[in-house]
């Protein structure tokens, strides 16, 4: 489910007297995701650090002058570009204090907007539809500018989009109630004109939003009647001829939003990803007619995913950068972090397995001191785990490698370098696009490890598993590789995080775990939580055996461990004397097996492969757990991952089903079976006693019915 989190205020607004506009012209991303340039509707441009909610710099034009287009940041030259009074282009750097002293150039035609993509060159769009690259324009500022648009045709909205390496300017225009769309390609220049299908007469689109995905540009537009349409434009088949001919633009109705009474006035829709649309200024379907809501809709399932009421007037303006929505409302500009996980039917129906755990890792919107002090990129939407790895990281790789580069690296580089780069990559990458790349990384790592027996990078794999983006089907060899390399910690992680481990692999793990010598098992470092749980279970057991004051329980565990493994047989025959038949770490690993999901029919054949020795040990351990749970009324410790009593019982049943005949023949198993038999017998006895009580209670009821003593009776009694 998409979610909107607790927002915070970036700055206050100075809206118009009549509250018709918010006082903000535009918000553009600056050097990174944490910096934005906010241009107000009159004279000033302010640079903000988002995570600190703090202005870093502000520039104002002279009284009498007016900013007519939002300032953009040219990341190639680290310069800001803005236009004053329609014709004067101003360019300045961050350390320029006075705008008047900065560079300015006057052009011959009115400018509509300056667009700039991150890492791209600024593009100047003129009001009459012409487009120039900034550099070429500045070479000859007074060059004549052609008119692309017809008479009475005016630009309503424009944006820039990078498709592959091409930059596209998208312009929508209006001419006598008709709406057109221009798709302008730069270098080589070409333009295509489309005509938007007419909505009801008199309705013109309230807002547009364009995104590029799958080699297509998706245009999303909202009408005052609440209809959200999507049109898909191919980037490839763009005709080279100058499009005077307006092609009809096919559209599909994406959403029909509830509008309440009347039509929408100040509203805006924006695509967040392929399935989610953020809508502002549209009534919440279950909250009456108020229109001051920010909502996230899932277009695949037509469901409202999240909603938030915004205090004050909504101006129908909406920006979104790096998982944050910027929305001016009332007298503030608020930033609301959001999250749109990959939508699926399961999540739409609320049945996704990890919904809760994901929710609990809410993006931390409060700025972290760590980040501020160490000057790291604050990325509040990152999960806590990546943050932890990031903060512990000592050396940051300076080169920002792409997925492909990292993949190449993995194929050849030594373990340490791979580890460093993968770590860096995970820190940089967005959670959403992590999924495919993590899978690729893991696959490559595993295949290299398989091919090259000397190569194995445990910590990198563990890190990848920790992202929770992996599952067994993505990387089927991972668990077996870990088993082969005796990397039990990784095994534990996989068992814990993979929802789809096949029963055969589970069984293989089980077999491996049981056959680890206890001494080896203790060397393995495992998840501390699960170890602590087992430790608690076992030390209680120690304490029962009469723990002396000043006698360290850990040392006793170590001392007893060898002896304990030896006299397993003896202890099995004396269940009253509870002691864990396996070592601590081994028990932790087996616990992990107990908690993996399985289906009996598939598990049973694989269970038969276990040797009777192993079955015995496993059963003894299960018996130990059962007794611990049932005798001491052992509280299922909150927060610890621990097998439930029913899981334990299910496994006992499965094991007995699979190996009963063998166990009956094994003399050593006799005591164990007798014990288990005793459990069953006591249960049966309890049930039969309950049955008896039921019988007598029923008798009692019958007797009660019979007895009705009036005011007077004469009875015969006998005393003995």
């Amino acid at each position: 489910m998409a979610a909107l989190y607790e927002g915070y205020t970036l700055c206050g607004l100075v809206p118009d007297q009549n509250l018709s506009s918010s006082g903000i012209q535009g918000i553009e991303e600056e050097r990174d995701r944490d910096h934005v340039v906010v241009t107000d509707s009159t004279r000033s441009v302010t640079l903000y650090k988002v995570s600190d909610q703090k202005p870093l710099g502000s520039w104002t034009v002279k009284q009498g002058q007016k900013l007519t287009c939002p300032a953009v940041f040219n990341s190639q030259t680290n310069e800001y570009v803005a236009v004053t009074d329609n014709k004067v282009i101003r360019i300045w750097k961050e350390d320029d204090i006075l705008l008047d002293k900065a560079f300015k150039a006057t052009v011959s035609s009115d400018v509509w907007k300056v667009h700039c993509t991150h890492g791209g060159e600024p593009v100047v769009l003129f009001q009459r539809g012409a487009v120039r690259l900034l550099d070429s324009l500045l070479a000859a500022p007074q060059q004549p500018i052609e008119e692309v648009l017809a008479q009475e045709e005016a630009i309503r909205w424009s944006t820039i989009i990078v498709a592959e390496t091409q930059q596209f300017i998208i312009i929508t225009t209006e001419q006598k109630g008709e709406h057109f769309l221009y798709l302008q390609r730069l270098n080589p220049n070409s333009v295509q004109r489309y005509r938007l299908e007419r909505e009801e007469p008199g309705l013109s689109p309230l807002s547009f939003s364009a995104t590029y995905r799958d080699k297509h540009i998706c245009l999303l537009y909202l009408y005052p009647n609440g209809h959200v349409y999507q049109s898909v434009l191919s980037v490839r088949g763009l005709g080279t001829e100058e499009g005077v001919q307006a092609l009809p633009l096919p559209r599909s109705l994406l959403l029909g939003l509830p509008v309440g009474d009347g039509q929408l006035e100040a509203a805006s829709a924006m695509a967040l990803d392929e399935a989610h649309v953020a809508v502002v200024g549209v009534p919440h379907p279950s909250a009456g007619g108020g229109k001051d809501f920010l909502c996230i809709w899932n277009t695949n399932f037509q469901t409202l995913q999240a909603g938030k009421e915004m205090a004050g007037k909504i101006y129908g303006q909406l920006w979104s950068y790096s998982n944050k929505v910027f929305i001016p409302h009332g007298k503030t500009l608020s930033i609301i972090p959001f999250e749109c996980p990959k939508s699926s039917l399961a999540s739409a129906l609320g049945k996704l397995k990890h919904t809760k755990t994901e929710e609990s890792k809410t993006p931390n919107s409060v700025p972290s001191w760590n980040n501020i002090l160490h000057g790291e990129k604050a990325q509040p939407s990152k999960s806590a785990e990546t943050r932890r790895t990031r903060t512990t990281r000592k050396s940051q790789s300076t080169t920002n490698l792409t997925t492909d580069q990292v993949l190449e690296l993995i194929k050849t580089a030594p373990v340490e370098e791979i580890q460093k780069e993968v770590e860096g990559f995970l820190t940089r990458a967005e959670f959403q696009d992590l999924q495919p790349s993590v899978g690729q990384l893991a696959l490559t790592l595993v295949s290299r490890s398989l091919a090259d027996p000397a190569f194995y990078s445990s910590s990198t794999l563990a890190q990848l598993v920790h992202t929770r983006c992996l599952c067994h089907s993505v990387c089927p060899d991972l668990v077996l590789l870990a088993l082969e390399k005796k990397d039990y910690f990784l095994c534990q992680l996989c068992l814990q995080f993979f929802p789809d481990i096949p029963e055969a692999v589970t069984c293989a793990c089980l077999k491996a775990f049981i056959s680890i010598p206890d001494v080896d098992a203790e060397k393995v470092s495992l998840e501390p939580d699960s170890v602590e749980f087992m430790e608690n279970l076992i030390t209680r057991d120690r304490a029962e055996a009469g723990l002396q004051n000043g006698f360290s329980p850990t040392s006793s565990v170590v001392n007893d461990r060898q002896t304990r493994a030896e006299d397993v047989k003896k202890k099995a025959s004396a269940p009253s004397q509870l002691s864990c038949p396996v070592g601590l770490h081994k028990a932790v690993l087996i616990n992990e097996i107990l908690q993996t999901p399985y289906s009996d029919t598939f598990l049973l054949p694989h269970l038969k492969d276990l040797s009777s020795q192993h079955v015995m040990l496993f059963l003894q351990y299960l018996q130990f757990l059962y007794l611990k749970y049932s005798q001491d009324a052992f509280p299922q410790m909150e927060g610890f991952r621990s097998p439930s009593l029913s899981q334990i019982m299910d496994w006992v049943c499965l094991l007995l089903d699979a190996h009963f005949t063998v166990l009956v023949m094994t003399p050593e198993a006799k005591g164990l079976l007798l014990n288990l038999h005793r459990f069953v017998k006591s249960q049966v006895r309890l049930v039969s006693e309950l049955g008896k009580i039921e019988g007598s209670l029923q008798e009692l009821r019958k007797m009660k019915a019979k007895e009705s003593i009036g005011q007077y009776s004469i009875e015969i009694i006998e005393l003995f």
Partner: protein, 684 residues
């Protein structure tokens, strides 16, 4: 042992009166309980909670408050009178009108020199307690609104008075109100309803604790007049508070039937600043808890549901002992049923009337467990309304059924009853003047004499005959005990009369010589019933601690049987029963059989059989029933206990050897109570 035909009687509509207030005297360990009908009962907490005295009520007395001053007991009620009781003669000693309208509360200072009463007209009146009387001293400054509750500061310098919407603190010297503590009204709809401070407590550290009709228990600082803490304990009223003697614990009774304990403890370990913390909730009542007493070891509560509940505090008593058991006292510890054995008549005593019933008859025979068809239904022969305001305190029916007598605190009435087809009842008009105020009546077995216990443990003997009623003698003992005689018993042969008083003394008088024969050695527990064996003339006495003694009147010593019983000791199950034996009868056909009963069982003691071993099963009837006849004799012991009948008011053996069992099921009593306050139960 054999079969018995049992008349199972359930038509005695005994209805106890609601408990209105109570006061505990920690010096004497006596609890005084006042009921709604004005009766006052005295329970001895040192003697197994035995109800040793009952002062009958009076119409319109409406006792609201009780107060012990040393050994003296005062009450005040809505009739505006203050009463001091004469605990030796079981009647009001004198009444004083306070002239302030109905009195809601009465409280004495710690020295026992002054009584303060709170009146309807808003005055707090101070009375000086003098020997033999009380005298009005003065009024404290009068305020508008009635005074509902009062409490003296232990130093006697201040009095806290609970009123409507406020608590006032008076200076006892000057009579001026020094502080006014405003009590918040209930929230919500009842905001307009004034809040009544039903009860206040004033501790020596000047903490004031109040309970009010908004359901709050509030802790105040009396020096500064500030509210320290509020506990909202019920949606209904907090009716009564009681503070323990050491001031470390307070209990509050609510309309919901709960009792809530607050303790003055430090909220965390190792912390010295203590505060009042709500600790325990006791839920032993179905109706209003309007009376509470906090003894050193127990919470004693009573209310609308008429039961007195003693709930030991488990941190003050040893666990799993008799002492720690919850006790509910639902029935009086004396017999309200008279039985004419020869005539098959039952006399039921109510506070305002007597009912005379004739038992029914059955036909045929049946097996044990059968119910016989009733040939003739029981018949109410007479319903005799009492005269005057005073309630009936005792009554007696002669064995032949020809005489009936009852007494109130002011007069004795004797009636002659004759049956010839129709029934006629005639009041004996001229009674000797000695027969004026008695608290126990008894006819001799031949119905020729009436014995009446009178003041100073004396017994008046009156001869009754068709023609006249003549005073014969006053029997007196010489021990100097002035306590009232609560048990009277004449022997069948007419020679002996036994009396027992609440000083635990049992005196035997020789009626032929009209003088004291002897005194049974005083046992330290009060006798709950006594009877003289018709054949052996041995006196059987059962005491509040459940001990049984047999005393030979002729030899003036305990019998062998009694000595053996004492030597062997009674089984703990017998001793742990929590209701006293209230009646003894004998089997005329088998002199070995003694029949006695308490509320929950009756028992036939067979003196010919051995006592049960200490490890034996006391209730062995089921075991014996399952054994073949030949083995029974080896297993049986002297105590034959039958628990088939519960809530027994009387068990008696008629001359035709059929048993009469008078039951009054608690459920029947409960069903006659008014509906309790509505409580939200799950899914209602």
């Amino acid at each position: 042992m054999g079969e018995f035909k049992v008349h199972r009687v359930r038509f005695f509509d005994y209805m106890p009166s609601a408990i209105r207030t109570m006061a505990f005297n920690s010096q004497t360990e006596r609890l005084a309980v006042a009921r709604a009908d004005g009766a006052v009962e005295i329970f001895n907490f040192n003697d197994n909670f035995f109800q040793e005295k009952v002062i009958p009520g009076q119409d319109g007395r409406a006792t609201e408050a009780l107060c012990w001053v040393g050994h003296r007991l005062f009450s005040a009620g809505l009739n505006g009178e203050i009463i001091e009781y004469d605990l030796e003669n079981l009647r009001p000693q004198y009444t004083v009108d306070a002239y302030g309208g109905p009195i809601w509360t009465i409280s004495s200072n710690s020295q026992g020199t002054q009584l303060a009463v709170g009146c309807e007209d808003g005055t707090v009146k101070i009375f000086a307690i003098l020997e033999e009387r009380i005298q009005f001293q003065r009024n404290l400054n009068r305020h508008k609104g009635r005074i509902i509750s009062l409490c003296w500061h232990p130093s006697s310098a201040q009095i806290a008075a609970g009123m409507t919407d406020m608590i006032k603190i008076f200076d006892a010297e000057t009579g001026h109100a020094t502080r006014r503590l405003l009590v918040d009204r209930a929230m919500g709809a009842s905001k307009n309803k004034e809040v009544v401070v039903w009860s206040v407590g004033y501790l020596s550290d000047h903490t004031i604790i109040s309970g009010d009709s908004a359901g709050k228990v509030q802790i105040w600082n009396g020096l500064t007049g500030t509210l320290v803490r509020t506990y909202l304990v019920t949606k209904w009223d907090v009716l009564v508070l009681s503070v323990s003697k050491d001031e470390s614990s307070v209990i509050a009774g609510t309309s919901e039937g709960t009792v809530i304990q607050f303790q003055f403890i430090s909220s965390t370990v190792d912390q010295h600043d203590k505060e009042w913390v709500r600790t325990r909730t006791f839920r032993n009542h179905s109706h209003d808890v309007s009376a509470l007493a906090h003894t050193d070891t127990a919470v004693v509560s009573g209310g609308m549901d008429t039961q007195l509940v003693v709930r030991p505090l488990l941190d003050k008593v040893e666990k799993n002992t008799q002492e720690s058991a919850l006790r509910k006292i639902a029935f009086p510890h004396r017999s309200l049923v008279g039985c004419a054995k020869k005539a098959g008549l039952l006399l039921f005593q109510f506070p305002d009337r007597l009912e005379l019933w004739k038992l029914g008859e059955s036909e045929g025979h049946g097996k044990p467990g059968d119910r016989l068809p009733v040939k003739r239904k029981p018949e109410k022969l007479i319903e005799l309304k009492r005269k005057g305001e005073d309630h009936i305190c005792c009554s007696a029916l002669s064995a032949c059924g020809g005489w009936l007598a009852y007494s109130t605190v002011s007069s004795v009435r004797l009636y002659r009853i004759q049956y010839n087809n129709t029934i006629s009842i005639n009041k004996v008009s001229k009674l000797p003047k000695e027969l004026r105020s008695v608290h126990q009546l008894c006819f001799s077995s031949d119905s020729s004499k009436l014995f009446a216990s009178s003041c100073q443990s004396s017994v008046i003997v009156v001869a009754v005959s068709q023609q006249e009623c003549r005073y014969l003698h006053t029997l007196k003992h010489k021990t100097g005990s002035r306590q009232p005689v609560h048990l009277l018993c004449a022997s069948d042969d007419g020679k002996w009369l036994a009396t027992a008083n609440t000083d635990c003394e049992i005196h035997i008088y020789n009626l032929h010589k009209m003088k004291l024969h002897c005194m049974v050695p005083v046992y330290n527990s009060c006798p709950t019933t006594i009877a003289i064996h018709p054949v052996t003339n041995n006196l059987i006495s059962v005491h509040a601690d459940q001990q049984i003694f047999e005393f030979s009147l002729v030899q003036k010593e305990y019998t062998q049987w009694s000595r053996r019983l004492q030597a062997q000791g009674l089984l703990s199950l017998w001793l742990e029963r929590d209701t006293p034996i209230t009646h003894i009868t004998f089997n005329p056909k088998n002199p070995d059989h003694i029949i006695l009963h308490d509320t929950y069982m009756f028992c036939i003691i067979d003196q010919s059989l051995p006592f049960p071993e200490l490890n034996a099963v006391l209730w062995n009837q089921m075991t014996l029933k399952s054994l073949p006849v030949s083995q029974r004799i080896g297993q049986s012991h002297a105590f034959k206990i039958c628990k088939s009948f519960q809530h027994l008011m009387c068990v008696s053996l008629l001359e035709d050897l059929s048993l009469v069992v008078v039951e009054r099921p608690l459920l029947d009593i409960m069903s006659q109570l008014p509906a309790p306050v509505r409580q939200k139960k799950f899914a209602t």
